[in-house]
């Protein structure tokens, strides 16, 4: 007989928060031009009565599915589906609202998602992720729940359903530059993480093998973290500029105070701490029994490192790399400070023009990239963790 459960706290909380977001927070903003502050609209004004009813109905359904008394696994699946519906519904209804709220006589008017809409999306997606983790959910259902919302958004983007929203209007104006800057963001992050991996793992191993070096190495890596991004590239300007003009090879490669050199240098320095620290921690956490066994089998120290310590430390080291990768992806917006582009261009450009949706274009794109990267690395981390060791720090369920 299928288990029945008590009330599901996460589901109920999500339902209450979702209902609050729709009814109490400003749902959308209508501006007469992209630089105006505009007026906030409630969900009723923005979506009309039927749209509001639809959203309320979905959240109420989530509440019902969380009350308990239903079989556990189908309830979780239902909550996941409802979360997806809430997310896609909020976005689609907002896009449809654009036609209701504007007309051809005001071609520069913009409709943006407001706090309430963004909150709905965030709560809905959290609900989907929470439902996905339910024990005993079949793998197919898990996969569908993970992918349904992103796919839905992707389809809406591809078919142009969302083109009326202010954030997409900004995208339309910047589309050539947009993808070039996404590529720049990925390029800088990719190179910096690779370099930091090589350097950081080496430093971590060094700190592990020479205990006296541990504190200095950590201290140095730590210090870099405390320097704010703008200050870091400012400090790097003079030395890199000197290198670029005085060493012909560097000059030809484009080393200088502006461009890729300060960005990659700064990003690598920032990524070091996570990798060094996790390499050390991973190596230090290897059980002495395993090392003894290896030595007993006649392995040299180096063989022990390569065949016993490293593989066992891998989940933790990989966790450090995952942290560094996502952090570096976000930090790459530094490029905008040194004429190297990246999504920071839209964030800071929007800030200086006081155009909120341009800022969102950059930020939302960045968040989506970071989520995607984290997802991919999580999946890879599953491969790296030996099955019988899952549950150790860093290894996913």
């Amino acid at each position: 007989m299928p288990e029945r459960t008590r009330a599901h706290t996460v589901g109920l909380t999500a339902a209450i928060l979702g209902l609050a977001a729709v009814t109490l927070l400003p749902f959308a903003t209508l501006r007469s031009s992209r630089i105006q502050t505009g007026e906030s609209l409630s969900a009723l004004d923005a979506l009309g009565p039927w749209g509001l009813v639809a959203l309320l109905a979905v959240w109420l359904a989530v509440a019902v599915a969380s009350l308990g008394g239903m079989p556990r696994i189908p309830a979780a699946a239902l909550r996941g589906v409802l979360g997806t519906l809430a997310l896609l519904g909020t976005v689609a209804l907002s896009a449809a609202a654009v036609a209701r709220l504007t007309d051809p006589s005001t071609p520069y008017a913009r409709v943006s998602l407001g706090t309430g809409a963004w909150a709905c999306i965030a709560i809905a997606y959290s609900l989907v992720l929470a439902s996905r983790r339910e024990d005993g959910l079949p793998r197919l259902a898990r996969a569908i729940l993970s992918l349904a919302a992103p796919l839905g958004i992707a389809v809406m983007l591809a078919t142009g359903t969302l083109d009326g929203l202010a954030i997409m209007r900004e995208y339309a104006n910047q589309s050539d530059r947009f993808w070039a800057e996404v590529a720049a963001q990925l390029r800088f992050a990719g190179i910096a993480v690779t370099v930091a991996l090589v350097l950081g793992t080496a430093l971590g191993v060094l700190a592990f093998q020479r205990p006296r070096l541990r504190d200095p190495v950590f201290a140095v890596a730590n210090i870099f973290q405390t320097i704010p991004g703008l200050a870091m590239v400012g400090l790097l300007f003079a030395p890199l500029s000197w290198l670029g003009s005085n060493i012909p090879l560097f000059g030809r490669l484009g080393v200088g105070g502006l461009g890729w050199a300060p960005v990659i240098t700064a990003l690598t320095l920032y990524a070091l701490l996570a990798i060094v620290r996790n390499t050390y921690a991973g190596l230090a956490s290897v059980p002495a029994a395993a090392v003894d066994a290896g030595l007993g089998m006649g392995m040299t120290e180096w063989q022990v490192m390569r065949r016993v310590r490293f593989p066992l430390a891998m989940p933790v080291i990989f966790g450090g790399m995952r942290t560094a990768a996502v952090q570096t992806l976000g930090n790459a917006t530094l490029g905008a400070f040194v004429a190297a582009g990246t999504l920071g261009l839209f964030v800071f450009g929007g800030l200086s023009q006081q155009a909120m949706d341009l800022i969102l274009l950059g930020s939302v794109a960045l968040v989506l990239l970071a989520l995607a990267l984290d997802g991919i690395l999580r999946a890879l981390q599953g491969l790296v963790s030996p099955r019988h060791l899952r549950g150790r720090e860093g290894a996913p369920r």
Binding site: I35, G257, Q354
Partner: protein, 322 residues
Amino acid sequence: MISNVRRAMVACVAIALITALTACSDAAEDPGADRPSKGTIIIGSKIDTEGELVSSIVKLALEDAGYTVEDKSQTGTTEVVRKAIIAGEIDLYPEYSGNGYWFFLDELTDDEKAGYNVGETGYETTARLDLEANDIAWLEPARANNTWAIAVTEQFAADEGLVTMSDFAAYVNAGKPVKLAASDEFFTSAGNPEFEQVYGYTLTEEQKVRLAGGNTAATEKAVADGTDGVNFGMAYGTDGALADLGLVILEDDLGAQIVYWPTPIVRKAVLDAHPEIADILKPVMESLGLEELQQLNARIQVNGEAADDVARDFLESGRFIE
């Protein structure tokens, strides 16, 4: 187990390298690759709408003439951009003729200083001094005065009878409520000090709202919305957002301000190697007047069009490029 680890590590490094390399191939795309290039010019700009616009105009004009242009626009603040051009990191960027007053303040005679209230004399002094001191050549300017100004909402101007800066001085001296939002530069080094001296008023610290950075979008928005009680906001003469936000500029009736003409400036070494740059840009800059600049700025700021598109429209309609 070990082979799994190896596979995963190889996969990660591969992903990182592939990401980096495919994104790197962007650099290999060269729009002018079919024609042999006359040379590469690196263009920078300050981080504001007009800087972006003028650098786009220069970029497209030079590309049309056969040059390869490396776009490093939105480089940084005035200090950063000056450092960059003197260090050779960039070859060209749009500067304002009036800024020469600040760059060379210690060397100017009193006559030369007074000359900055007139566009032509100020431009000539700056051009001469920058060439001597930094080997930077000033090309043809756009004769549109993008100077410091104070803006108010149309409603407020009508209510208080404010049309000129003399009216503003009278308003301040009458002890009426003032909250002026402006950049730090405006309050400390340029803009407000001149106004205070010529019009005879002084602002207390509580009347000043200091913002970081010189982009007037924030100050104009503050005065348009009345945020934090702000009723006066810093603006520049050629700003595009004024009409849309319902703001008017208080006229500088006594001519207190220095004249700032947007001018492309270039490293002398680059100009000597490619003297035709001056001839390409001369007619373009000559046709950029005050209203033209305001409208182009408005298209970027209010309509949200990309600077390159607006620049291309301007150049094509003036028959400067094909």
